[in-house]
């Protein structure tokens, strides 16, 4: 229970933050961070917990975004489109996963790039949704930033909750086994194919919802932005930086990413990707556990020093 205190505290703080004197720009940054965290946590369920690295999660983000966008324009309540966006993404994940999860590690990763890019090209040519010039959402209600803020916060919290539930469940144990040694897992009764599909669907659903939430906020989406490879890159960078295969890693990564994105993108567009590249390389070379790994290492070091300096009385 004690361990739940800091995150709950954070949640509380974030919940009451808008009531203070926060400027609209800060609210925007936080909102975008919430959306980023949702995708980061979602991706990690497949990429971190199950060890299946996908380079093509933009597919689900984009599908979610367009589902919500089209839905709202057709008169559907936005909040009804979000579950729909999740469902569309989850179904898509099955279509992607059914053929590709039969493949070994890197082949799967490569296949996901292929799927994502193909979808982007198709969406760029689809007249119905505006093609390359993008798609505009027209809502007949006034734009209320606070509403989006809380929707984002709710989504991110949901994602983290799902992540915790999966991790503690039998399903999560099976995913860990698959990540450690898929063959041994199968030899002991885990159904790797079904479990990977399951993790993929959960991850896609969260990512799709995030896409939908974002779409409503932005009121304008285009294939390059939501389906593009840079989007997939961004989604997977967050958990890698924060610490894959943990609960808080993707959240931290999302936070770092969200803040950096807003600060750097406008001023130094190429610098932030360069920074990420260097960060990823440093992480892989020196601390594959990401920020969380660093923190754990620091804690172990501090503990060792404490033990070493302990004097019997």
């Amino acid at each position: 229970m004690v361990r739940a205190l800091p995150p709950l505290l954070l949640l509380g703080v974030l919940a009451i933050l808008p009531l203070s004197d926060l400027g609209p720009n800060s609210v925007k940054v936080l909102f975008l961070t919430f959306v980023a965290v949702a995708t980061s946590v979602g991706w990690n369920i497949l990429g971190g917990f199950a060890g299946q690295v996908s380079f093509g999660f933009a597919v689900f983000y984009g599908l979610g975004a367009y589902t919500t966008a089209v839905g709202i324009n057709l008169g559907v309540s936005p909040y009804a489109t979000y579950p729909l966006a999740s469902a569309v993404a989850a179904v898509a994940s099955l279509l992607v996963g059914l053929p590709t999860f039969r493949l070994r590690g890197p082949y799967f990763a490569i296949a996901t790039i292929g799927v994502s890019e193909a979808t982007r090209v198709i969406m760029t040519n689809l007249e119905f949704t505006g093609g390359a010039s993008g798609y505009r959402i027209t809502e007949h209600v006034p734009f209320r930033q606070i509403e989006h803020y809380y929707t984002g916060l709710a989504l991110a919290s949901l994602a983290v909750a799902v992540s915790i539930i999966v991790r503690r469940s039998r399903f999560g144990l099976g995913l860990r086994a698959i990540r450690d040694d898929q063959e041994a897992a199968a030899d002991i009764g885990v159904n790797p194919y079904a479990y990977k599909l399951g993790a993929h669907a959960i991850a896609a659903a969260l990512t799709g919802a995030a896409g939908g939430v974002y779409a409503r906020y932005a009121a304008f989406i285009d294939p390059e932005g939501v389906f593009g490879f840079p989007r997939s890159v961004g989604i997977l960078l967050m958990p890698v930086i924060g610490g894959v295969n943990t609960i808080s890693g993707p959240v931290i990564g999302g936070g770092v990413y969200g803040v950096i994105e807003e600060e750097l993108v406008a001023r130094f567009p190429q610098l932030h990707l360069l920074l990420y590249g260097v960060l990823v390389m440093l992480i892989i070379l020196f601390e594959p556990g990401g920020v969380i790994g660093l923190l754990q290492r620091a804690r172990r070091l501090a503990l060792r020093r404490k033990v070493a300096s302990w004097q019997p009385s």
């Binding site: 450690d180 040694d181 041994a184 002991i188 009764g189 885990v190 295969n245």
Partner: protein
């Protein structure tokens, strides 16, 4: 005793090499069966096929009367066949206890129950209860073999396939493992195990199957196998 497993004309080709050549035998419930043969005779391949991680080129397998020729490994476990690996494959990110837990939760009996106690019971059976909280990555080779066995037992198999569980162990370690196998059999599990040490075979098995170059060379009680000239020739060479 009822026939638990029946293998008919099992054949496996690998890139032009014949790994198994029309092997046939039956395993009766409650026995400890030894599977012996020189290296490369096809023993591990046979295990892989029975447990489902490989498909045979031709032939038939029946388990408890049902067709078991091409099952997926996880299905085989759910139905009651589980195997250990020649080189242990522990889940390295987990503790010893968590490894066993995987076997408990995904094996033949997947109901929710008191896992903590059951895991400890199994660890006691194999002799490593004190290692429960250790990360699997920190274990010695001998302990890893025990963990492998513990995890497989946790899946509650009716038929346990043990692949060279004694390899690399000292005499006393081997005796304790053999005692363990006898205890497992007494608890109701049928065991097939691969072994090179003929003394171990004689002291534990009711029945022995001898493989060589993928063919079944001989089959019968251990004493008879010890004196069978073909078996001796396969292991030691022709008497000149």
């Amino acid at each position: 005793m009822a026939t638990l497993l029946s293998v008919e004309d099992l054949t496996k080709y690998f890139s032009g090499l014949v790994a198994l050549d029309r092997v046939s035998f039956e395993i009766r419930e409650g026995e400890i069966v030894g599977l012996i043969g020189p290296n490369g005779a096809g023993k591990t391949t046979l295990f892989s096929i029975i447990a489902g991680s490989q498909a045979p080129t031709s032939g038939k397998i029946s388990f408890e009367g049902r067709d078991f020729t091409r099952v997926k490994p996880f299905r085989a476990v759910h139905e009651g066949i589980a195997r250990t690996h020649q080189i242990p494959k522990p889940f390295l990110s987990m503790t010893v206890h968590e490894n066993v837990e995987v076997g408990l939760r995904f094996g033949r009996d997947r109901r929710a129950r008191n896992l903590e106690n059951e895991a400890l019971e199994i660890l006691e059976l194999v002799g490593i209860p004190s290692l429960a909280r250790m990360p699997a990555a920190a274990l010695s080779v001998g302990d890893l073999k025990r963990l492998e066995l513990a995890r497989t037992l946790a899946a509650r198999p009716r038929l346990l396939l043990c692949d060279e569980v004694c390899a690399g162990l000292t005499e006393s370690e081997m005796q304790s493992i053999l005692g363990l196998l006898r205890r497992i059999q007494a608890l109701g599990t049928t065991v097939i195990y691969v072994e090179h040490n003929l003394r171990a075979i004689v002291s534990t098995c009711h029945h022995v199957i001898v493989l060589n170059f993928g063919k079944k060379l001989a089959e019968g009680p251990p004493e008879k196998m010890q004196n069978d000239p073909a078996v001796i020739e396969a292991y030691i060479g022709k008497k000149t």
